[in-house]
């Protein structure tokens, strides 16, 4: 029997994961489950029922499916090891930096690391109002005040008054996080911090202030941070000396890529789709997406939604040709094909 959930685009608006409520919803969210109706029942649906059924399927395909890749495994393992190492550390705690091109799964991986840690903590200390993980993004053109405000916004602390200085806000944030037994602080989009500017230097110093005042493991993620000047200068060397670096790269067209495609294909809920079609087209998908997991997810999910909307109920190569992926991948594919000519 199909699970018909009343899903609509306008219902269940989610808070972003950069707020405590949104983060907790993300932690508690179960992977989307959907069972297809038997052929006979599907054909006998009236118009209203069919719209509801298709809406539920579209919502299912719109959900991001997390497939455990070797990168996610490495990042979660290293992150856990660091958290365990840092729990008895009094001085400088070591952090983890995840760096790589856009759409290679950095954010997904660090969020999974945070999720695993929070679930483990909930299991270990049930019923306590701890906040084991904090997830913030480095503010664009960030200043120390903006960074402190990001932490305060995550926690749901009230808007700070204009006359309050950075130390007041940072102090309140640190005290709350210490009381709430925070173990992991995830700072995404760290490439927003430009150490070549004085504002960037200030931001870096304040990030260091937080690392010294919070007994937590700091996990950073950003686009090609080695080349964005994060490790240059005295401050950069300090960051480099205290952090492990894990690079995320596009996937090569190997067995793992096929497994990845297979994992995504298994989540499709289309009535005419033959399982294995996408695995057989793994090379084509690699060419289209350049091995970027984010682009692969987009291409497959967008094709599935289009197959539902158009009523074809299957993903074919012709259909995928009509789906546009992100500009970075498309331009890279164009460049590659012109080089081969």
């Amino acid at each position: 029997m199909a699970i018909l959930t009343p899903v609509s685009q306008l219902e269940n608006r989610r808070q972003p994961t950069t707020t405590l409520e949104g983060w907790r919803r993300f932690i508690e969210a179960e992977p989307s489950q959907f069972e297809l109706l038997p052929e006979q029942d599907w054909k006998s649906l009236d118009d209203r029922e069919r719209v509801a059924y298709d809406e539920a399927r579209i919502a299912h395909h719109a959900e991001l499916v997390v497939v455990t890749t070797s990168t996610i495994t490495e990042i979660t393992n290293e992150g856990r090891l660091l958290t365990l190492l840092n729990q008895r550390e009094i001085g400088a705690r070591r952090g983890l930096i995840v760096s790589g091109p856009a759409a290679t799964g950095k954010t997904t991986a660090i969020k999974q690391l945070g999720r695993f840690h929070e679930l483990r903590t909930q299991m270990r200390f049930p019923g306590t109002n701890r906040i084991p993980v904090v997830y913030v993004t480095a503010p664009p053109k960030g200043s120390p005040r903006k960074l402190a405000m990001e932490f305060a916004r995550f926690l749901g602390l009230p808007p700070m008054r204009a006359r309050q200085n950075v130390t007041d806000i940072a102090d309140a944030v640190c005290q709350v996080l210490i009381d709430a037994r925070t173990d992991v602080v995830v700072v995404d989009e760290i490439h927003n911090m430009n150490l070549a500017t004085s504002a960037g230097e200030d931001l870096s110093d304040h990030l260091k202030y937080f690392t010294e005042h919070l007994p937590a493991t700091f996990i950073y993620a950003g686009i090609d941070v080695e080349r964005s000047g994060l490790f240059t200068g005295v401050r950069g060397q300090q960051i480099a000396g205290r952090s492990l670096l894990i690079n995320t790269t596009p996937f090569p067209c190997t067995t793992e890529w096929k497994q990845l495609v297979g994992g995504l294909e298994a989540t499709l809920r289309l009535h005419r789709h033959q399982q294995g079609t996408l695995v057989a087209a793994a090379k084509y998908l690699h060419q289209r997406t350049g091995g970027m997991i984010g682009s692969l997810g987009h291409l497959i999910r967008a094709s599935a939604i289009r197959a539902v909307l158009e009523g074809t109920e299957q993903i074919t190569r012709a259909l995928m040709d009509t789906v546009r992926v992100d500009h970075a991948v498309e331009s890279a594919t164009r460049r590659a094909s012109s080089t081969h000519r």
Binding site: T19, L155, G156, L157, P158, A162, A172, D179, A180
Partner: protein
Amino acid sequence: MTERWFDLVPRQQLPRTTAPFRGEALHSFLRRLAAVNHITVTDLQPLLGSTTGKRPDPRWLSIVTGWPVAALVDRLRGLTEPEPRHRFPSALCRLCAARRNVFDTVIVYPDGHVNVCRRHRLWIGGSHTAPQYDITPLPELRTAHCATHASAPGPPARHARRGSGLP
């Protein structure tokens, strides 16, 4: 920066919360709530739809604390009606508060004329700033208190807290 009313509606609970005690004065609860979040009561006011001298909106307080509106209205004095003028506030027994990990002074409007904490044998009469003495060496005080309260209408039964969602 101009503050807009729709920016001020609380969107989520405060990171740390504390439960109100039965008969606790509103200002005492707000002070404790602000303290556990390491902010001031003034910082808290925009989240409660209140300004100085104006009572907070119970629904906003419910969002911010995570406790049901009915439980807050039931326990807090001064939330939906002015604080009682004909009764004097006193401090809750410090050991009763400490049992719930509260080490700050809790100001309450007791339901009856309570001067002694029977559980901890502390003198809790007088103003909230008065010291709470151990009355173990004076058993007649406790006996007199018990005799008074045996005839007087007592506080609500303990089982009344069931279903309120509060500890």
